[in-house]
């Protein structure tokens, strides 16, 4: 089956920041994104667990977004601007998609 190379951007971010990151992606004309809720983790600031957090702060979400390579730099730049002052991990990886029109 014919596949097409794209980039997958993964952004781990604190839940209270989610709306801001999504607005940034919207502003960059990405065709879509998906959010997963993380369950637990540990970083330099110590461990956290979804069931042990009050309110929205503290828990992380993972936003991912499949984009064309041509758009990648613009997206990364503007996402980085949002997450630079907060907890946030951004990774990029290679994927192949089967429907080109979608991205």
């Amino acid at each position: 089956m014919q596949t097409y190379p794209k980039k997958r951007i993964d952004i781990m971010i604190e839940a209270p920041l989610m709306a801001r990151v999504l607005a940034t992606l919207d502003g960059n004309g990405v065709t879509g994104y998906t959010v997963l809720q993380a369950y637990a983790g540990r970083g330099q600031d110590g461990p956290w667990h979804r069931d042990g957090v009050v309110g929205r702060a503290g828990a992380l979400v993972q936003v991912f977004c499949i984009v064309d390579e041509s758009r990648m730099d613009a997206v990364l730049d503007s996402v980085f601007e949002v997450v630079s002052r907060q907890i946030g991990i951004v990774t990029v990886s290679d994927v192949e998609v089967i429907r080109r029109e979608h991205f």
Partner: protein
């Protein structure tokens, strides 16, 4: 003095506090006990709905008077003034960086609704009535402290602006909207309004849901709060210096004193005064942290969360509540 000790003992041996203690020690002992996030959120929604509705229905029954406005004004002033005091104390007595001091200060200006609930239950058991609109005062006290603390953090000029975009710093209107429309406040104030509209009749129709099981649900919720507070203290204690921990214990007393004055000025009843003192003495651990992660990300949650959740909240729940009720007795 006798009765204060009696009250304190009765409070410490109430199911509410014992369930809190159970959770606290379970976390400390690293038990895997946990309450799913969805359940905790559901319980919290229930508690907001119930307390708001009951407050509203009581307003519908007893009417409102000028005291309401005075109490609201007093609450807003307290919430805005306490961070200024807290900030000065922290700068003077601890080595916290200014941005962390401002963040901590915001928590103590704002309020903890669960502490408020626990005081309401104690009043109810003791047969002491309180103004129903105190829930509106509670809601009004959540946000002003955040604004003042942000102003502190930015005006004292030491917030590292760095390469931050304009919208990630300062007090932008979007943030104010978010703080005012946060879920808990909407349910609390909305249920209060519905209680006002539907009154005693509305209350009767849903009493088997929002009144009868209330105390039991609060016990279950406090079990969860105990787990969270214990975990917060366990993981976070090493980040807190003795000076900061001491602040978490005496700042509530300063707040309580200011609350006492405000209650007296506003002319609140015994029960209302106890609630006002409790609000002033309590520290936020939900609304303020969420807002600060957005608006003041340089401030470290590893300082303000364990302090508010692991030190001040348990202190208020166990020793604070009987003390604040006794304080309220001084002006009645």
């Amino acid at each position: 003095m006798d009765s204060v000790l009696d009250l304190a003992a009765a409070n410490l041996l109430s199911p509410m506090i014992l369930f809190f203690a159970l959770g606290f020690f379970a976390s400390m002992a690293r038990s895997d006990l946990s309450i799913p996030e969805a359940i905790a959120k559901g319980l919290s929604l229930y508690l907001m709905m119930a307390i708001g509705f009951k407050g509203g229905a009581s307003v519908a029954q007893f009417g409102i008077d000028a005291t309401l406005l005075k109490a609201l004004a007093a609450g807003v002033v307290l919430s805005a003034a306490m961070p200024l005091i807290a900030y000065r104390i922290l700068i003077a007595t601890t080595s916290l960086p200014k941005v962390d001091a401002a963040a901590v200060a915001a928590h103590y200006g704002s309020i903890s609704i669960v502490t408020f609930l626990a005081m309401s239950e104690i009043l109810k058991s003791a047969g002491i009535a309180a103004e129903g609109y105190m829930v509106a005062v509670a809601a009004a006290m959540e946000t002003p402290a955040i604004m003042v603390a942000l102003w502190l953090a930015h005006s004292t000029g030491k917030a590292p602006e760095g390469k931050a975009s304009p919208r990630s710093g300062g007090i932008d209107p979007e943030m104010v909207r978010e703080a005012l429309l946060n879920g808990s406040i909407v349910v609390l104030i909305g249920s209060f309004a519905i209680g006002c509209i539907t009154g005693e009749k509305g209350l009767q129709s849903i009493a088997p849901f929002i009144i009868d099981p209330f105390k039991g649900v609060l016990c279950l919720f406090l079990l969860d709060m105990g787990l969270i507070a214990g975990r917060g203290l366990r993981d976070g204690a090493r980040n807190l210096t003795p000076g900061v921990i001491a602040f978490g214990l005496y700042m509530p007393l300063i707040g309580a004193t200011l609350g006492l004055g405000s209650a007296w000025l506003a002319g609140l009843s015994l029960g209302g005064s106890a609630l006002m003192i409790t609000l002033a003495a309590s520290a936020s651990y939900i609304a303020v942290p969420a807002a600060l992660r957005l608006a003041l990300p340089e401030a470290r949650p590893a300082i303000y969360l364990p302090l508010s959740l692991g030190v001040t909240f348990p202190f208020n729940l166990t020793f604070g509540i009987p003390l604040y009720l006794a304080l309220a007795g001084l002006i009645h």
